[in-house]
C-alpha cells in the first residue's frame, strides 16, 4: 500500500516498512502500532481521498494496542495469511473490531505463495463474518497484486469520519512515545474541531495546559502540517518529557474552547505476568534501573519496582502483559542497554485470603504469607485454540492436564476446529504455548482473554539448600504439581551445583513439609598431587585465575552457587525455541 500510494518511493521500499524496531523486523512481528496517512485517487470515482491507516500487532499480549487503535477507526482490514489460515488471534481481533461496530473488509494476503489456499480460507472467513467467499479480496503485499482494488474498496466501503468541525476540539490519544530528540510524540485522531500549532492544548484528565510545538501527519515519516481536522490522524509534539503526561486514552482539547465531555478512553492495560529481573553483575543495578525508566517511556504497560533477593541480589520485580511482552522487554533491555540479565520464573497475580481474613495481592512468591491460608484465588482466562481437527485429542489432553474446563468447540471448516477452554493463566504462563506448538507440530494457535479469578488449590513450594530457602526458586503451583516441581528443581540443582567440602541437602518443601529431597555429596578430592620447583608459579597463577570464578559465586548460607547454576535452573529447556515459536504465531 505504501508503494502503490507512492508515499514511499520504490527505491526506499523494504519489507515491514512500518516495523521500526530491530526486534520486530528480526522476529517478523509487530509490537508497536504505527499510523500512516495515505493519499489515494480512487479508480471508482476518480476523486482524491485521504486514508488514515494504523498497522497493529496481532499477538494476544498486545490486544490493548489493537483495541485502542480500533477505537480510533471507522473500519478495519482483516488481513489473513492464506498460506497459514485464520489463527486464534485473528478471531480475537475480529471480534474486537465487531464490538467496535467497524466495517470489516476481509482480505487474503500472500496469494503469491505456492502454499496459498485462498479458496479454503475465503470460505472460512466468509463463515465467520457472514459474507460471501467472493467478497474476500485477494492481495499480495509482495507483488502488489490486488492492492489497488483493496484501496478502492476501502474508499467505497468504509464510511468517512463523522465529526463536528465547529464543535470544541476533541482528539483521542491512541499512542504516545518518547523520542530522545523531540520529547514525547503523541499520536491522535481528531474527532471534533481542529488542532493547529496556534492552539494551546489541554489534557482532559489532568487539566494541564501545553504549548503545541508541532503538528503533523505520518506519511510514513513525520511530515509537519498546519493542523489536523476532523477524522485526521497525526501527531502532536508539546515538549513534554514524560509520556505519562500524555496518557493514552486521554482526550486533548483546546485551552481556549475546551470540550465539556471527554471521549470514551481505554482501560489501562493491566500486567498479567510478573517476573524478577536481576543483572548478572550486581554493579549493573543502576544501569538496569535507567534502562527500565527509558523503556517505560515507550511502554506504559511495563510496571516495575525494586526487589532484593538473597540469592540474586538487587533487581526489579516487573509486570508484563504476557510472556511475549516479557521476553521482548528483557531482550530490549539487554540489547539496548547492553545488560546481561537473569529472570526468575514468571508467575501470575494471586489474591490470598489469610486465616485472619486479610486480603493480600501476591505478585512474587516471596510475598506469599507463611501462616494459615483461607483461600487463594488465581486469574482465569478464556482460551481459544485453532488447529487442524486431527489434533483435537492432543489439545484436549493438554488442556485437561493444565486444569482446563472445556467450554465448547466449533468446526470452522471441514478440517479446522476452534476449541474454547477456561484455564488458569498460571498454566498458560508455564510453557503451555511451547507444549501446544510442539504437540500440534506448530499448527495450533492460541489466544486468550482474562475473565476473572477463581479459587485454586495452590501451594507455595520452597527450595532449600542446606536448610536455607533460595527465594529465586520459590514457586506458587497447584497442589498436584508441587511434587513434580519439587523433584524437577531439586534434580536440576543437584546437577548444577558443584560438590563442596560438606554434603548439601537440597529440599523442596511446602511450609514445613519436605516433598522432595536430593543431596550433593561432599567433595573428596580437590588437590594437585605434585608441587615442585617449576609447578609453583603455575599453581599460584592458577589460584589468581580462580579469583574471578569466585566472584561469580553467590553464597546461599555456606553453599557456593555459581551464577550459571541460577541461570540454568531458571531456564526451561524450550526457552531457546520459544522466541522463534512465538514470533511465528504472533502476526
Amino acid at each position: 500500500m505504501l508503494g502503490i500510494t507512492e508515499v514511499v518511493e520504490l527505491r526506499n521500499m523494504r519489507a515491514q516498512y512500518l516495523d521500526r524496531m530491530d526486534i520486530e523486523r528480526e522476529r517478523g512481528i509487530t509490537i508497536k502500532s504505527q499510523a500512516v496517512r495515505l493519499p489515494w485517487r480512487s479508480g471508482l470515482d476518480n476523486q482524491e481521498y485521504i486514508l488514515n491507516m494504523i498497522d497493529t500487532p496481532g499477538h494476544v499480549d498486545f490486544t490493548y494496542e489493537v483495541s485502542r487503535s480500533l477505537a480510533a477507526c471507522e473500519g478495519a482490514v482483516l488481513l489473513v495469511d492464506c498460506a497459514q489460515g485464520i489463527e486464534a488471534q485473528t478471531l480475537a481481533n475480529l471480534y474486537l473490531a465487531m464490538e467496535n461496530n467497524l466495517t470489516i473488509i476481509p482480505v487474503l494476503n500472500k496469494i503469491d505463495l505456492p502454499a496459498a489456499q485462498p479458496e479454503k480460507f475465503a470460505e472460512e472467513l466468509a463463515n465467520l463474518i457472514g459474507c460471501q467467499p467472493e467478497d474476500c479480496l485477494r492481495v499480495s503485499g509482495k507483488t502488489g497484486a490486488g492492492v489497488t482494488e483493496l484501496l478502492d474498496q476501502i474508499v467505497k466501503q468504509i464510511p468517512s469520519p463523522i465529526g463536528d468541525i465547529n464543535a470544541p476540539t476533541r482528539a483521542l490519544i491512541f499512542d504516545s512515545v518518547y523520542d530522545t530528540y523531540r520529547g514525547v510524540v503523541t499520536y491522535v485522531r481528531v474527532i471534533d474541531g481542529h488542532l493547529s500549532t496556534r492552539d494551546q492544548i489541554q489534557m482532559f484528565s489532568t487539566g494541564v495546559r501545553h504549548e503545541m510545538l508541532e503538528v503533523g501527519v505520518i506519511s510514513p515519516e513525520p511530515v509537519v502540517s498546519k493542523g489536523l481536522g476532523v477524522g485526521e490522524v497525526g501527531y502532536v509534539i508539546t515538549g513534554v518529557k514524560d509520556v505519562r503526561q500524555s496518557r493514552v486514552g486521554d482526550t486533548i482539547t483546546t485551552y481556549n474552547n475546551p470540550a465539556k465531555v471527554a471521549l470514551a478512553g481505554y482501560k489501562d492495560p493491566k500486567p498479567m505476568v510478573f517476573s524478577g529481573l536481576f543483572p548478572i553483575d550486581g554493579a549493573d543495578f543502576p544501569l538496569l534501573r535507567e534502562a527500565l525508566d527509558k523503556l517505560q517511556l515507550n511502554d506504559a504497560a511495563l510496571v516495575y519496582e525494586p526487589e532484593s533477593s538473597a540469592a540474586l541480589g538487587f533487581g526489579f520485580r516487573c509486570g508484563f502483559l504476557g510472556l511475549l511482552h516479557m521476553e521482548i522487554v528483557r531482550e530490549r533491555l539487554e540489547r539496548e542497554s547492553n545488560l546481561t540479565l537473569i529472570s526468575t520464573a514468571p508467575n501470575v497475580v494471586y489474591t490470598v485470603t489469610t486465616g485472619d481474613g486479610k486480603l493480600l495481592t501476591v505478585t512474587n512468591p516471596s510475598e506469599y504469607p507463611d501462616g494459615k491460608i483461607e483461600k487463594v484465588e488465581e486469574p482465569i482466562v478464556r482460551a481459544t485454540i485453532l488447529a487442524p481437527s486431527e489434533f483435537i485429542g492432543t489439545i484436549m489432553e493438554l488442556c485437561q492436564e493444565r486444569r482446563g474446563t472445556l467450554l465448547g468447540m466449533d468446526y470452522l471448516s471441514a478440517d479446522r476446529i476452534e476449541i474454547r477452554y477456561t484455564l488458569p493463566l498460571a498454566e498458560i504462563v508455564f510453557d503451555f504455548f511451547d507444549q501446544l506448538k510442539s504437540r500440534t507440530r506448530g499448527y495450533a494457535s492460541l489466544d486468550y482473554e482474562p475473565i476473572g479469578e477463581a479459587e485454586g488449590d495452590l501451594v507455595k513450594v520452597d527450595i532449600m539448600l542446606q536448610g536455607e530457602k533460595v527465594d529465586a526458586f520459590s514457586a506458587i503451583v497447584h497442589k498436584d504439581k508441587a511434587y513434580t516441581y519439587g523433584t524437577m528443581m531439586t534434580g536440576k540443582l543437584r546437577e548444577l551445583i558443584p560438590r563442596q567440602q560438606f554434603e548439601i541437602p537440597i529440599q523442596a518443601a511446602i511450609g514445613g513439609r519436605i516433598i522432595a529431597r536430593e543431596s550433593i555429596r561432599a567433595i573428596r578430592k580437590d588437590v594437585l598431587a605434585k608441587c615442585y620447583g617449576g609447578d609453583i608459579s603455575r599453581k599460584r597463577k592458577l589460584l589468581e585465575k580462580q579469583k574471578e570464578g569466585k566472584k561469580r559465586m553467590k553464597m546461599v548460607g555456606r553453599v557456593e552457587v555459581p551464577q550459571e547454576a541460577f541461570v540454568a535452573a531458571l531456564t526451561t529447556d524450550s526457552d531457546i525455541d520459544k522466541a522463534k515459536a512465538k514470533a511465528k504465531g504472533s502476526d
Partner: protein
Amino acid sequence: MSTLAFYVHIPYCVRRCGYCDFNTYTPSELSISSDLSVTSRTYIDLLIREIEFARESSDATIVPSIFFGGGTPTLMEPKDLGRVITAIGSRFELAKDIEITTEANPDTVTKEKLATLREAGFNRISFGMQSAVEHVLKVLDRTHNPENVFSATSWAREVGFDEVSVDLIYGTAGESIKDWEKSVDTALALPVSHISAYALIVEAGTKLGAQVKRGDVVMPDDDETADKYLLADGKFAAAGFDWYELSNWSKPGSECRHNMAYWNGDNWWGAGAGAHSHINGRRFWNVKHPAAYASMVTASKNPMHEQEFLSYDEKRSEEIMLKIRLASGLDRAELTAREQDSIAGFVTEGYLQAEQWDGGSVVLSKTGRLIADRIVREILL
C-alpha cells in the same frame, strides 16, 4: 650464611611416557645418536658453565642439597654427573651432610652403574617405580618389569646409598583398588626409606591427554582416587612411613631435604634446559629446548627465558599454598582474623587437625590433605 640448593635438569629420555609433560626429549626427537655418550659430555659441559654463572650472580656460600632430575639423569655417564658435583663443590661449599639425589629408571641401572654413581658422590636415589601391576604400567607407557625395582633398590642399598626412594602413581585408567593395594604393598616390601605417591594428572598436550579427550581412555573418578590416597596413607603409616608432605612419606629423618627447600621457600638454582630457580622472591627459568639452551650458554649468554619478581602478596600466597601441604603446617598467627574465620569450618568438619589448630597451627588432617587446594582458596580468595 646463606644457602643455595641445586637442581640439575637432564632433558633426555630413551622414550617418552604417555602421561609425561616434563621438559624432556628422546634422541629421535632431537635427531641425535641414540648412544648419548657424546651428548652426555657436551651437555654436562654446558651445565658446568651455567654453574659458573650461578656463582657470579649469587652470594650464597653453602650448598645443602643437589638433585638431578629429568628426563632420565642416569642416561648420562656417571662420571659426567660426577663432574657436575665437583664443579658445584669447587665454586661453593658443599654442606657436610649434603644430600645428593638422582632420579633413576629401575630398568636401566646395573649394580656396577649404581656403584659408580655412589662413588661420584650421590647418597640418595629415587626410582620411578610407578606401579607393581603390569597392565597399569602399560597404560602409563612404562616398560619396566616390576621385578627390576626390587633388584635396583637392593643393589642401591648394597653399594651404600643412605636413602633409597620409590615414586608411585595412582589413579591410572584401569587400575583397581586391588591393583593399587598391590603396588603399595610391593613398595613397602622394598628396602626403601622414602616413598612418593602421586595421583596421575592428565596433562593437555600429552598422548594420554589426547586419549582421554578422544574418549579412548576413561579416567577413574576423583572419589576412587581419594580412596586410594587414604588406603596408601594408612598402609604407609602402619609401616612407619609418616607423611611429611601431601604426596611424600618417609621413615623418620629420611625426608627429602631438597624437596623441603621448595616448600620452605628457600633459595635454589635450577641448572639445565628449562630449569626453574628461586632466589629471594625472584623466580626465573631457562629456555626449554636443549638446542636453544646450548646455543645461549655456548655464546656466554644467560640462558634465562623469563623471570618474575614476587610481590608481597604473591610471596604470601605461595607460602600459604606450599606450607599447608607440609605435616608441620602453617603458623596460625600468619593468617589474618578474617582468614582464620574463613577456614574455622574446616576444623569442625575434621579437615584441619583440631589439636594443632588450638595449639596455633594449621595442619591438614587425612581427609583435609585431599582438599588442600580448596582450603587454600578459602584462605586466599
